[in-house]
């Protein structure tokens, strides 16, 4: 599996990955919960509803690489 890109780090980062070779999007909440959808509007609604409907998954977190934001 291709490693998931993670360029931002912080305690409140939401991520949405476009799943390779599909039309689906994978949302990963900062709490670790994940959800797949085809519609970005639906996925944002799910992410922003945190913690409602979020079941944390301990093994899902990818440690982000060290990269300093240029624009801060």
């Amino acid at each position: 599996m291709t490693p998931r890109t993670a360029m931002l780090h912080g305690d409140t980062v939401f991520r949405i990955h476009w799943v390779l070779n599909t039309d689906r999007l994978l949302g990963v909440c900062h709490c670790g919960a994940e959800h797949e959808a085809e519609d970005p509007v639906e996925l944002w609604d799910w992410l922003l509803a945190h913690p409602e409907g979020h079941e944390p998954r301990a093994e899902s977190a990818t440690p982000p690489p060290v990269r300093r934001l240029a624009g801060v």
Binding site: L8, V19, L25
Partner: protein, 353 residues
């Protein structure tokens, strides 16, 4: 009924390049506020409201006398802080005879102004684009007026898959529209990051010509958007398989930092500042000319499309139906932050509308 504002006050915006300001009075409207800029005799940049308090004559149509502006209509004279220091025909200066002055910071080749409550202007909040003033980079830049609302430019820049269609032959290649994207949103710092990492891509002519790379490339395009104004596109080009070192250094790649400053002029027009900084071929004027011409062409293609879109949107009733698909994930996040910033600055106006 007041209408909901569409742009956020209490934010820093790029008003000009530092090079644009001198001893001439320089007018520019930012978020609907007419502002006049100039430099004092010792070179400090000044931003004042561009209307005389007396009869609203534009101060930009007036003249500088030392560090003061003498209104070109009746001679009201203002110092660099906006205080009136001379009123014609009387010695008493009314207490209210002053024009607003704007907090201003020159940084990274830009002139930033704070639009909003003066006491909330914190220069530490200004996002950085350090390449533009870094001798290790060569930069070309410009500004194009856009007759469209700034949100359309944000939408446009947040989704680079339009490159393939609107800018085919310049910066678009087939892989750009067909590479998975990761969108990240930092809620606390209000930053949006959209990564598109192509491991094995065709080298577009735009880059083949300027880097001299032959053959296929590893191409990364990372958008870093600091709403509302500053948009950075970190572009990394390297021969296939060449990655940055573990310590973060990246000596075998070519870096192009594309910077946009998206500054609303009015509700329906935008200042579209663009700059391209590179860390290779630093003294090659031909490369500079090529990058400047190519990027300006790309910007003008966007301007033409967005000007048309603005006319279409204005002619339609509010609440038109849109369709959002995968490529819009970052754009949707940007819209949400912008809406939040507008509401934070204007809670009463939003509540009433």
């Amino acid at each position: 009924m007041p209408t909901t504002p569409t742009f956020a006050r209490n934010q820093w915006y790029v008003a000009a390049y530092s090079r644009e300001l001198g001893r001439e009075l320089f007018p520019r409207t930012i978020l609907g506020e007419p502002i006049v800029f100039y430099r004092t005799e010792n070179g400090d940049a000044v931003a004042l409201a561009d209307r005389c308090v007396h009869r609203r004559y534009p101060l930009s149509e007036s003249r500088l006398e030392g560090d003061t502006i003498v209104c070109g209509y009746h001679g009201f004279t203002y110092d660099r802080a906006g205080s009136c220091v001379f009123v014609p025909g009387q010695s008493r200066i009314p207490r209210t005879a002053r024009v607003a002055s704007y907090p201003l910071v020159e940084q990274d080749s830009f002139v930033w102004v704070w639009i909003g409550d003066r006491d909330r202007a914190d220069p530490g909040l200004i996002p950085r684009a350090p390449w533009l003033a870094d001798p290790a980079y060569t930069t070309v830049s410009g500004m194009e007026p856009l007759r469209a609302r700034y949100e359309l430019l944000v939408d446009n820049l947040m989704d680079l898959s339009h490159e393939t269609y609107l800018h085919g032959g310049y910066i678009g290649t087939p892989e750009v529209a067909n590479t998975p994207i990761t969108t990240e949103v930092d809620e606390e710092n209000e930053v949006i990051y959209v990564s598109r990492h192509m491991a094995d891509a065709e080298c577009p002519s735009f880059y083949a010509k300027s880097t001299g790379i032959e053959g296929r490339i590893t191409r990364w395009q990372d958008i870093e958007y600091h709403p509302p104004c500053l948009y950075l596109l970190h572009s990394r080009i390297a021969p296939v398989g060449v990655l940055p070192n573990d310590d973060g250094t990246d000596p075998d790649a070519f870096h192009v930092e594309v910077v946009y400053a998206i500054t609303p002029e009015t509700e329906h027009s935008t200042h579209d500042f663009w700059a391209v900084a590179r860390d290779f071929a630093l003294d090659d004027q031909e490369v500079s000319d090529f990058l400047a011409e190519s990027n300006r062409t790309v910007v003008l293609q966007d301007v033409r499309a967005l000007d048309v879109l603005e006319q279409v949107i204005q002619s339609e009733p509010d609440g038109y139906q849109e369709l959002s698909v995968n490529i819009d994930t970052g754009g949707l996040a940007a819209r949400r932050f912008l809406r939040r910033m507008v509401e934070r600055a204007e809670p009463k106006a939003v509540a009433r509308s």
